[in-house]
Structure formats: C-alpha cells, structure tokens
C-alpha cells in the first residue's frame, strides 16, 4: 500500500510542529502510513526536554505571545505536543532524524529522545520514503 504521508519537519516553531503532528496523526487515523523527517530547527524539538520549547512563528513577543496563545489552547482543550507524539508512535508513525543536522549542530544521539527515533538518515532516506507517498509536505 503506497497510501502514505511524508513530512519534512524543518521548522522548530511550536505552531508549525503542531501542524506537522496534527496532519501526521490525522493521516495515521485515516489508515495511512506516516514518516516524519526531522531536520534543522525541527530536530531541536527532538532533544530531551525540547518538544514544547519552540517559539511561535509569528507574534511570539519574547514568549509573551506564546504564553497567551498557549493559555487559549489549553482553554480550547488542545492536546499537548507530548500526547500527540505518544499517539503518533502508538499508531505506528515513523521518525527519521537527519544525520547532517546532528553533525552541523553538534547534536549527539544521547541528547535526543531516541525512544521516538526509528532511523537516522540523509536525503536518500527522505526521497526513498517520499517517492511513493501520496502526500508530502515541507513544514
């Protein structure tokens, strides 16, 4: 079955990570396969304690904007990123960490949430994953 979604998670911004994980979990829920390829600022979010650390892409105002939007999200009962990630793994989602980003940013495997990561790869891994995917996005 080539019924698959592949997303490059390039941004480390919180709102964009929400978009990526909502689309990913939605795809899994529709019975599709999903791979998330974490690279550049996105990979920072896979660091231990880093998942919720991203700023907002707009109106962050040194964290004040993020705090305001987060309190509204809590009111609207939006699930935390940690739950979305747990659901993603439970539904069989795959995570690939970009090796080149690790090298450039000096990120060691032991700094990452390795329990989430299925594979460490480069561009070939992404192309291999995406060439038969019906949905592929760069976020």
């Amino acid at each position: 079955m080539s019924n698959k979604t592949v997303i490059i998670v390039h941004s480390g911004d919180m709102d964009k990570l929400y978009s990526a994980l909502i689309i990913a979990n939605g795809s899994l829920s529709m019975g599709m396969e999903v791979s998330l390829y974490f690279t550049f600022w996105g990979l920072e979010r896979l660091k231990k304690g880093g998942l919720e650390k991203g700023p907002f892409s707009k109106m962050n105002f040194l964290g004040l904007g993020k705090w305001m939007v987060k309190s509204r999200m809590k009111k609207a009962n939006v699930a935390p990123l940690e739950k979305m990630m747990t659901d993603f793994k439970e539904l069989g989602g795959k995570i690939i960490a970009c090796e080149m980003t690790m090298e450039i940013m000096g990120i060691k495997q032991e700094q990452l949430r390795t329990e989430w990561i299925d594979e460490y790869g480069a561009v070939g891994t992404y192309v291999h994953e995406a060439k038969d995917a019906e949905i592929t996005l760069f976020i």
């Binding site: 909502i22 979990n25 829920s29 529709m30 019975g31 009962n77 699930a79 659901d87 539904l91």
Partner: protein
C-alpha cells in the same frame, strides 16, 4: 464480539479521530467500536476515515451537540 466505548466528549482536533483509530487497532474483527463526541468536524471525518479503511458504519446518532458513531471492526 465485544463492544468498545470511546468517550471523546469535549476533545478537539485531532483527538476524536486519533482515539477512534487507537480503539479500532485494538479491536478484533467482529467487535463494535462506539465513539461518542462533541467535536463537529469529527462527526464527518470519522466516517470518512472508516470508509478509507473499508470499515462499516453501523449507525450515527445525534442529540443536541453530542454524536455517537457505531463502527463494525
């Protein structure tokens, strides 16, 4: 045949859809999964997901803001 109840009342996107999928994965063929919720878009999207997975919807009930979808695994 077992009946599996999933309560997503008060939850928003994408939780009802995800919880429904989690329950369907745990269910065995012949089981009935009953999802209750209040999120309006999920009332349309859960049947869409079931259709793309080839699962049968036994019934959809609605009362005020609350809906109940019965799915045959």
């Amino acid at each position: 045949m077992t009946k599996i109840e999933v309560d997503t009342r008060g939850e928003t996107c994408p939780v009802p859809l995800v919880e429904c999928r989690k329950a369907l994965r745990k269910a065995t063929p012949g089981d009935e999964v009953i999802v209750t919720g209040t999120h309006p878009a999920s009332k349309k999207e859960i049947p869409m997901a079931c259709e793309s997975m080839g699962l049968e919807i036994i019934g959809i009930d609605e009362e005020a803001d609350e809906w109940k979808i019965r799915i045959k695994r």
